[in-house]
């Protein structure tokens, strides 16, 4: 069974958008998606890392102002079964892009 990181990659591929790993920043105005590992979110106890988890950030820059992009990504995150939250939605007035930003905690990687 693929590990959680691989499962996330597969889940993002199913959204229909292209997400590059650490693929931050394209030519201004370009629609794109990117995801990156950011930090650990391990469960600690008895001086041990009882369960390991990785916080992953997902960013989607799109011109689609409907709920579709959000629904497509969040359906896949729900199917993944890991806690996630939509951190922010921001309209970039200079590029016309909408920036959706999620944070996911991928646990169960022991």
């Amino acid at each position: 069974m693929p590990d959680k990181i691989e499962q996330l990659e597969q889940a993002l591929a199913l959204t229909g958008y292209e997400f590059a790993h650490h693929g931050w920043s394209r030519a201004p105005g370009t629609e794109y998606g990117t995801w990156s590992e950011e930090s650990a979110d391990d469960l600690l106890g008895n001086g041990r890392h009882i369960e390991r988890a990785t916080v992953v950030t997902i960013d989607l820059f799109t011109r689609d102002a409907s709920r579709t992009p959000r629904q497509k990504v969040e359906e896949q995150l729900e199917a993944l079964g890991c806690p996630w939250r939509l951190d922010s939605i921001n309209y970039e007035s200079d590029t016309g892009l909408i920036h959706l930003y999620w944070r996911v905690s991928l646990y169960g990687q022991n």
Binding site: W24, S25, A27, P28, Y32, F61, S88
Partner: protein, 169 residues
């Protein structure tokens, strides 16, 4: 019939009354050391931000290339404008203040002929944009300062309460 005598009860009531009377002033004094610690942590994070030269940033903009970091002038704007708002009571009744950025930097653009708003530059870096990689410097500052800020406010609360109790004892 049993008789109960309470010593110092009136003193205790007067101490509580004094605490209540001065509560806003006391709470503001308690918030201040926490804000100062957070501001120091934020200043340290801003000082450590990587930059590119203004010329390179302008060149990137003109050639539709992305910027990996803030320009020197954008960073200078954050350094100069970092401050603490006056401590006050918000609409929910919480006594608090904000550590953040104000005013405009020296980068004049078509969209911002008077300079870019420093708060907007800070937000762009904190959350990332399609052309600027995210660097959550403010989140790091809060994480670094949280426990020591809480401890400083707890210590100040103990000091302030003791001072009022002693003055009315």
């Amino acid at each position: 019939m049993a008789k109960i005598e309470l010593d110092g009860f009136e003193t205790y009531i007067s101490q509580l009354t004094a605490l209540k009377a001065d509560s806003l002033k006391t709470c503001k004094a308690i918030v201040y050391p926490g804000a100062a610690i957070l501001a120091d942590a934020m200043r340290s994070e801003v000082a450590g931000l990587a930059t590119i030269t203004d010329t390179k940033a302008k060149n990137n903009y003109q050639h539709n290339n992305i910027n990996a970091h803030l320009s020197e002038s954008q960073k200078a704007g954050l350094v100069e404008s970092l401050g603490i708002t006056p401590i006050g009571r918000d609409r929910k009744g919480m006594i608090q203040c904000s550590v953040g950025f104000s005013g405009y930097n020296g980068v004049r653009t078509q969209k911002h002929p008077e300079g870019q708003p420093n708060a907007e530059v800070a937000r762009s870096l904190e959350k990332g944009t399609s052309y600027l990689k995210r660097d959550a410097f403010a989140t790091r500052a809060v994480k670094a300062a949280r426990s020591s800020a809480e401890a400083a406010m707890q210590s100040e609360a103990d000091t302030q309460i003791q001072r009022i109790m002693d003055a009315n004892g």
